[in-house]
Structure formats: C-alpha cells, structure tokens
Symmetry: D2
Subunit: 117 residues, 4 copies
C-alpha cells in the first residue's frame, strides 16, 4: 500500500476510535487545515528565513508536529472527498507548467497573472 493510503488508514482509525467522523465535514476539515497551516506559520512570523539553524532544535520539533497536523487534515479531507492526492498533484503540476513556462519566469517570483501586464 502506498504511503498516502497508509496515512489515510492511520487517520481513519484515530477518528473512528473517537467517533469524530460526525464533525468531519469537508467544510470543517478545510477550516481545521487552515488553522494548522497558520500555527505552522506562527513559528516563522518574526524570523528572518526560518532555516534549521535559526529555528533551533526545540522549535524544529514543534514545526515538524505542525507539518504533521497539516498533512493529517489534508489526508482526511482527501478521504472525505474521494480525492487521490497523488493524481491531484500530477494534474496540477501540468497546469503549473503551462502557467509558469520555465523560460519566461526564471528567477522571478511574481504571480502568473502579473506577467500579463
């Protein structure tokens, strides 16, 4: 079984043991995902770059755990909406390659729609 399916099973079991499926509407899960992403961002908000050296060991552990929470909610949302995350990324990367042609955007972080100006 692939890693993402294994994660899905791990999360399903955790949720079922707690009878929390009743709270897991896609809407609620997307809110929870957004909250976890912000908790991750919180660790970086006053830092310069937030690399390993600047974070330090204790903060890096906290960051790892927030990243885990983000992935857990993403996997759970994918489960509830029957989304195959791997296919979704592969599909999106095709769109991204079309939107940001390498030769046009090299070294430039502006958004795609700014290139139309």
């Amino acid at each position: 079984m692939g890693e993402l399916l294994r994660l899905r099973e791990l999360v399903r079991q955790f949720v079922d043991e707690r009878d929390w499926d009743q709270f897991h509407t896609p809407k609620n899960l997307s809110a929870a995902l957004s909250v976890e992403a912000a908790e991750l961002l919180e660790h970086f908000q006053w830092l310069h770059k937030g690399d390993q050296a600047e974070l330090g060991e204790r903060k890096l552990t906290q960051v790892r755990h927030e990243m885990a929470d983000v992935l857990v909610y993403l996997v759970r949302l994918a489960d509830k909406l029957d989304v195959d995350l791997l296919s979704a990324v592969e599909e999106k990367m095709v769109l991204n390659r079309a939107k940001y042609p390498a030769e046009l955007v090299r070294g430039d972080a502006r958004k795609y729609d700014e290139y139309k100006d």
Copy 2:
C-alpha cells in the same frame, strides 16, 4: 521510492527549472502554504457541509487543485527543513493519542485543554 519522495523530486525539478529556490526560505514557504490552505477554505466558506454533492463537479476540480497546492508546498517545506513527513505524522499521532484518549473524548470535539476545566 515512496510517494512522498517522488513528490519531492517532482517539486524539486519544477523549482530548479525556474530558479525559484532562492525564494524558498522556510518562512516564505510556510506563508505560501497558509495562503493555499485559505484558498482551499474559500471554496467552502458559504457552503453548508461542502460534500461532493454540494460542491458539484466544477468546484470539486478546483478544490482538488488547491489541495494539490497545499501538498506541494508542504513537501517543499519538508525538503528545505529535512523533515520526514511520514515519521512526523507517526510521531504526532502518538502525542495525539495521549492528548485525546479515546474513552475520554468520544463524540466530543472540544480542544484538549478544555478538558482540564
């Protein structure tokens, strides 16, 4: 190779072709991740539950793509911080099991720290 490592390679290649690594500090990536999570939430904000039927086909495709963006930035951040996402989730699930014992929280979505009241 596992799925998450394959995704890491896919994203690395996309970034390298565009010379975007210079923008990918962990701080910037965590902000971008948070922005994508909010774009995902935006699709659900006025809906009732946001399940497949309520979303409809067109919106579900958009949701899939936002979920892909979230995963791409998460995988990229993990790459820059040398975080193994699978281990991080397994480690975090152990902590979650300790914080939310099944027999105590069954059917109850309050946060852990509210159980101390």
Copy 3:
C-alpha cells in the same frame, strides 16, 4: 481624534515601549494578522453556527480577544503602509457594489466570478 487614530496611537506606544518596531515589516505584520485570524477561526471550526449561545461566555471572551488581536495588527499594518483604513473601506465598498449588484446577487452567496458562467 477618530477611533482608528486612537487605536494607532495605543499600538504605537505599546510597540515603542518594547522596541518591537524592528520586527514590524509589512510582510511580518501581514503574517501575524493571518495567524490571529486563524486563531479566531479555531474557536468556530467544530461549531454549528458559532452564535453567542453556542459559544458560551468563556469562549466569547476568548473570541473578543482574538478579534482585538486582528484589529491591532491591521491598525499596525495600516500605520506602516500609510493606509487610511476608513477611506480604504469606503473605496472598496464602491467596488463591491459594482461587482455584486444587489438586484443580481440577492440571496446568493456565490463569488462574483461565478456569475459570468
């Protein structure tokens, strides 16, 4: 002096006493604002509607404080970017009235760009 200018002074004084201006780049403040908005959302994520009765007194107090944090960072960001928040809202409301004509969108919460379909 108007209320928003009074708030600006209150926040300026708090920041200056702590010599925190050095951290208050617009980028950092917008990240902090986003984090506070998510902390606010966290209180509502598993609730049904989140009205006063459902929140209860203790949670409502926490919600009030998160709302205060959002306003503080917004006022601070406006200070650093010389933005007049009142004029900004008045200007934006004109745009919103053009984007969402009352007779077209009455009772419908879809996004503006969905009306073009």
Copy 4:
C-alpha cells in the same frame, strides 16, 4: 457616531440590500475573515519586507483593498456577536501589557510562553 459604528452601518446596509445576512453566521464570517487575511498575505509572501517602495503603487492599492475586506468582515463579525471592538482592544492591551512586560521583552520578539523556559 464613532467610526466603527459608521462602518457597521455601511456593512449592514450592503448586506441587507443583498439579503446576505442568512450566510453570515459567526462561523462563516470568521472563515471569510481568515481567507481575506490570507489574500492580504499573498501579496507579501515572496517579498523581502513589503514596504511601500517594494510593493509599488499598483500592489499597494490591492493591499489597501484586502485590508478593507479584513476590516469589513471583522466589523460584521463584531456586529453579529455584539462585540464592541474598541473595548475589546483596550481590554486585550491590558492583558498584553501583563504578558509582555516592557522591561523583560524589549527588542525580543519571542512569544510570551518562551520566556518561561
């Protein structure tokens, strides 16, 4: 009438003309506020500091409008929850002064709870 009450009236009228009050549960409004805060952050995510010079005139206008959206949803949420935003900020600033004593945190952006280490 104070500025925030005037804003409240402006937003009430806009919402009533569109019969959108039915969508404005505190939960939905807090999600919308979080989404707007992220749209604001999006303008800054790849910038260095995001000051006026780095933003440029066109982006600064977009930033002003996103800040307006944040304030509009905050004022609307305050309306639905009967929260007086000015009192909330004044109350929160008292708590912040206790949590971050100027002489202890001067020039240091770490979070309060890190001082306990």
